[in-house]
């Protein structure tokens, strides 16, 4: 059977490559010996040589027979792999350095891609997630929320295909009398889980019946169940107390499913109607709901039905009262949420995407530099093997064969690097996620890389690109040989190679310049953002926020509470003053924004006349170190006195253009009633950024604490203190805690940290970006310097003879040093010419992330250039000094 014979021959030649080679050797030897015997009479003693001559080039023959071997590429590949491994083991230092640098480069890329994947590409672990849509209003500033009643109106019209969920905060969530740190509870419609079509990990999920009865049952996430009860199964039947009502756990969702909203895991989920059990007064009345549905496509009948129902509800009116946010006039669309909802408290996708793409750019550039460095090392090593290649080529191995061998070696390096990279990415991000500061801790779930298919595919692609980057050039370059010259040992190192080497380093310099100038832009941005708070001396300002809800003090009134605590805080050594407030710069909004009416000022048509409305104690401006013109509030500004206000400089400039606002009056317009009475302006305060450090300072109006209509309602059970200290605020934190524990046992401290620490969290993204960019920039410059050092010292070593002659002819050593240095300056200069426009492009790409500095600002680029020049000169000085020390006698005798 011919094909069986052929097949068995193929298999044999693959699996027994070593045996086959030995067989061939034996067969050829046998042939030669017979030929020698036959030739003996004619040729005498030289017979064997004659036979060998007749036999021809044995190595060539072996190569050719071997080349023909079936499935020869597998055979050859395994040979190449073994050879590559041996080469790596023979040069351990090179291998370790190359592996670590490639590994970390690939690891960084994998980690950042992992985050991008989770934020932007990953699909919800829900069957047919591409069908999930959310009803969304266009041009709405505060998100596409609906009230429960609005949802029901749509649901009645459309049927069980739509569902809704929302998140509310409970006064307290307890297990066995222990209060948990979470207070977010998800409310879902009865049909929520059947629309999603997901299965529980244990027990059952919530149903229509649960919601109709408003039963005290709940479902937890898998993570919540294992954290608090050990396993999903163990959680079933246990009790969680929400507010004062015990709820029993009837089911646990699956591990992969963590809710629909990015970064905000749905941990405790109750039927919507059951909210009445822990919020008897309002139930789910003020809870914003997302309306979800499944549609097969944008134009499907289901989609049309939902939009029609929405329009009908708008036309019917009534239900869509102003207090629940008026959706009339806004066009509704169905937005696909197969990738998760990026809304809620923070638009994670919008917040992170720019920073992540910037990071991705950074790590890609870093990997490029690493690859060029490893490529240079490989080239240098390949060059030392040119004699070996020349011999193999002249013995009949084809050039393609040797190139392939070199590519196999670099693929081996890249594959091992990819393994190192994945391990580094998984471990590194796990460690990072555990050490994130509290402020950005919620994104820890996005940071952790789990090696799933898409991540692995990405890593493999990156590793493949690496092979092309650092493997292909050396392989092609090193095998382009003048065989005769090589074998005679007279080959001069080729000019082309020197040029390639130098242009590679120039490229590194250019890329390092890009990273370094980008890091400059980001560092300046961070400094600019921080300087917005600098005048407040944030390190000596302690912010304390308490939460009395769900504690024995839940019904305490605010005024006596402040009277009780403030004198105690003032007695702490190191404290200068203490005030109560409803706002803190950078942290607690600008209070509610209301529409203002300023007599004698006509607003522009597009100006909504919104002004931040906030209440502060007398002494607030002094404690905050906010400059004040006019007078501060005093104890005389009490209830019953003339209503007074202090306005911010921005409000004064914009609404009292050209007039002195002090002594003037303004009032609030109310949408649900007549305007308020007038307030007399007694002072103008310097501008402070209350919420968005990037935005222009807001218009603010401050009112005296004592004139507030309902302080309890204003603070919502969360009293807020600002404590000015004369020593660093961190030193008085423990004393403040002791006072709170002694005076109000059981009260939760939501925040007690210095304003600088709190602001660092607000600026977490900028801080992280600037820090990483600096690290990347430093690594890039170091790698470029190493590359430069390598090129210059190689250059010196090839020109030893020439330098020797120059010195012998009387060139002084300073001249030699300058000669070599000039070479390195040329390389840096070429890199700079290439890098400056690239840096400007990179700055432009950073665009929206920058603050207070133009993307094309010359300072970061120039700064980076100076640093590069300094480090580059340093890297070139060492080899050039060794050039100056060349002994002409030895150098000229060397050849």
């Amino acid at each position: 059977m011919s094909f069986i014979d052929a097949f068995s021959h193929r298999i044999r030649s693959v699996f027994r490559a070593g045996d086959a080679a030995r067989e061939r050797d034996a067969e050829f030897a046998f042939h030669e010996s017979l030929a020698a015997r036959d030739l003996t009479p004619a040729h005498g003693a030289g017979a064997r040589d004659a036979a060998r001559r007749e036999f021809g080039n044995a190595t060539y023959l072996k190569e050719e027979v071997r080349w023909m071997g079936a499935m020869r590429w597998i055979d050859a590949l395994s040979q190449d792999l073994r050879y590559g491994l041996r080469t790596l083991v023979r040069t351990p230092l090179f291998s370790v350095v190359a592996l670590l640098s490639i590994g970390l480069g690939i690891g960084a890329n994998t980690a950042v891609f992992g985050m991008i994947y989770k934020v932007m590409l990953a699909r919800l672990p829900v069957p047919h997630s591409q069908e999930l849509v959310m009803l969304s209003l266009q041009d709405v500033r505060f998100g596409s929320y609906f009230s429960w009643e609005q949802y029901q109106a749509i649901s009645r019209a459309v049927g069980p295909n739509v569902t809704a969920f929302g998140t509310t905060s409970a006064d307290s969530v307890e297990i066995d009398g222990t209060r948990l740190t979470i207070d977010a509870v998800d409310l879902v419609d009865g049909g929520f889980y059947s629309v999603l079509g997901i299965a529980p990990a244990a027990g059952r999920l919530l149903t229509m019946a649960d919601n109709e009865q408003g039963a005290p049952v709940l479902v937890t996430s898998y993570g919540f169940a294992t954290r608090h009860f050990g396993s999903a199964q163990a959680a079933l039947g246990r009790t969680i107390r929400i507010g004062t009502t015990p709820f029993s756990i009837v089911g646990v969702t699956q591990r992969e499913y963590e809710g629909l909203v990015l970064v905000q895991p749905a941990e405790v989920i109750v039927p919507q109607r059951s909210a009445l059990l822990f919020q008897p007064a309002q139930g789910s009345r003020d809870v914003p709901f997302f309306i979800l549905a499944r549609t097969r496509s944008e134009n499907s009948p289901e989609a049309a039905a939902i939009l029609a129902a929405y329009r009908q509800c708008c036309e019917a009116g009534g239900l869509w009262s102003p207090s629940s946010g008026d959706p009339r006039g806004h066009r509704a669309v169905l937005v696909n949420i197969g990738h998760g909802i990026s809304a809620g408290k923070a638009d994670v996708r919008g917040f992170l995407s720019g920073a992540l793409f910037a990071l991705m750019g950074g790590v890609v550039v870093l990997l490029l530099i690493t690859c060029t460095n490893v490529g240079n090392l490989l080239l240098a090593r390949a060059m030392t093997r040119t004699r070996e290649f020349a011999i193999r080529l002249s013995l009949g191995a084809s050039r393609a064969r040797i190139i392939r061998q070199l590519l196999v070696e670099s693929s081996l390096l890249a594959s091992l690097g990819a393994i190192v990279g994945i391990v580094a990415a998984v471990w590194g991000t796990a460690i990072l996620a555990r050490n994130l500061p509290d402020g950005i801790a919620p994104i820890s779930r996005l940071v952790v890389v789990r090696p799933d298919t898409s991540i692995l595919l990405f890593t493999v692609a990156v590793a493949g690109a690496c092979v092309l980057l650092f493997g292909a050039f050396p392989a092609i370059q090193a095998t382009r040989l003048d065989l005769t010259a090589q074998l005679h040992g007279t080959a001069a190192s080729s000019l082309a190679r020197k040029r390639l080497n130098r242009s590679v380093v120039a490229l590194q310099v250019a890329l390092a310049l890009v990273l370094a100038s980008a890091s400059g832009l980001l560092v300046v941005t961070l400094r600019n953002l921080k300087s917005g708070l600098a005048s407040l001396d944030p390190a000596r300002l302690l912010v304390v926020e308490l939460d009395i809800r769900g504690t024995p003090h839940a019904n305490a009134h605010m005024e006596p509470l402040y009277d009780q605590l403030m004198p105690q805080f003032r007695r702490i050594p190191g404290v200068r003053s203490v005030v109560g407030t409803t706002v803190v710069p950078a942290l607690f909004g600008g209070g509610a924004a209301s529409v203002v009416d300023v007599p004698g000022f006509e607003s522009a048509p597009d100006d909504e006349m919104l002004v931040g409305e906030t209440q502060v104690m007398p002494g607030y401006f002094g404690a905050m170190q906010i400059g004040l013109r006019g007078r501060d509030f005093s104890v005389q500004d009490a209830r019953g006195g003339e209503p007074v206000a202090i306005i911010s400089q921005t409000m004064a400039t914009q609404l009292y253009a050209g007039r002195d606002p002090i002594g003037e009056r303004f009032r609030w317009r109310r949408s649900d009633g007549p305007p308020t009475s007038f307030y007399r302006i007694v002072g103008v305060a310097e501008d402070v950024k209350y919420f968005d450090l990037r935005a222009a300072p807001p218009r603010m109006a401050y009112f005296p604490w004592a004139q507030a209509a309902d302080l309890d309602q204003l603070l919502g059970g969360r009293p807020l203190f600002a404590i000015r200290t004369i020593i660093p605020a961190a030193h008085v934190v423990s004393a403040a805690r002791e006072i709170i524990d002694a005076e109000l046992p059981g009260v939760r401290i939501r925040r007690d940290q210095s304003l600088s620490a709190a602001a660092a969290l607000v600026l977490g993204r900028e801080q992280a970006l600037a820090t990483l960019a600096l690290v990347f920039g430093a690594i890039a410059i170091a790698l470029a310097a190493i590359g430069l050092y390598g090129v210059v010292s190689f250059h010196v070593s090839t020109r030893r003879r020439e330098i020797g002659v120059r010195i012998a002819l009387g060139a002084d050593r300073g001249r030699v040093v300058r000669l070599i240095l000039r070479q390195s300056f040329v390389v840096i200069l070429v890199g700079a010419v290439l890098g400056v426009p690239l840096s400007l492009i990179a700055g432009r790409a950073l665009g929206a992330l920058l603050y207070g500095i133009a993307p094309w600002h010359p300072l970061p680029v120039l700064g980076a250039l100076v640093v590069l020049l300094a480090v580059g000169t340093l890297a070139a000085v060492v080899p050039s000094r060794s050039a100056a020390r060349v002994d002409p006698l030895i150098a000229m005798r060397a050849d």
Binding site: M1, S2, A6, H9, A35, L61
Partner: protein, 110 residues
């Protein structure tokens, strides 16, 4: 016109080897000797083309190879023609004969 170099027409070496193997199983050297002898030394099989050709035969399943002892007790690799090798040989020979006849006619008429 005897070819002084004893070179074999391209593509015919496999045919010659297969034909030789129909006599008996043989090792490589014996195959070369046999072709030389039967052609009265007009054809010389270069070892450099013999072994690649044998490898091709093995790959196509037209021959098999097995190690065995020579009459003098030495180890040699013996090649045997397979059934499919015989079939291919038949086709090759008839194709060659047709070609040979055609060439001969052209040479005669010119």
């Amino acid at each position: 016109m005897p070819r002084p170099t004893g070179e074999i027409l391209p593509g015919t070496l496999e045919m010659l080897i297969l034909r030789t193997l129909t006599v008996d199983r043989m090792h490589g050297y014996a195959i070369a000797q046999h072709i030389g002898r039967t052609s009265q030394e007009a054809l010389r099989v270069e070892k450099g083309s013999l072994y690649p050709a044998l490898e091709r035969l093995l790959r196509n399943g037209w021959a098999t190879a097995k190690w065995g002892k020579t009459p003098t007790g030495r180890n040699a690799r013996y090649y045997t023609i397979t059934a499919s090798g015989r079939r291919v040989l038949g086709e090759e020979i008839s194709a060659f004969n047709e070609m040979y006849a055609a060439i001969a006619r052209v040479l005669k008429t010119s």
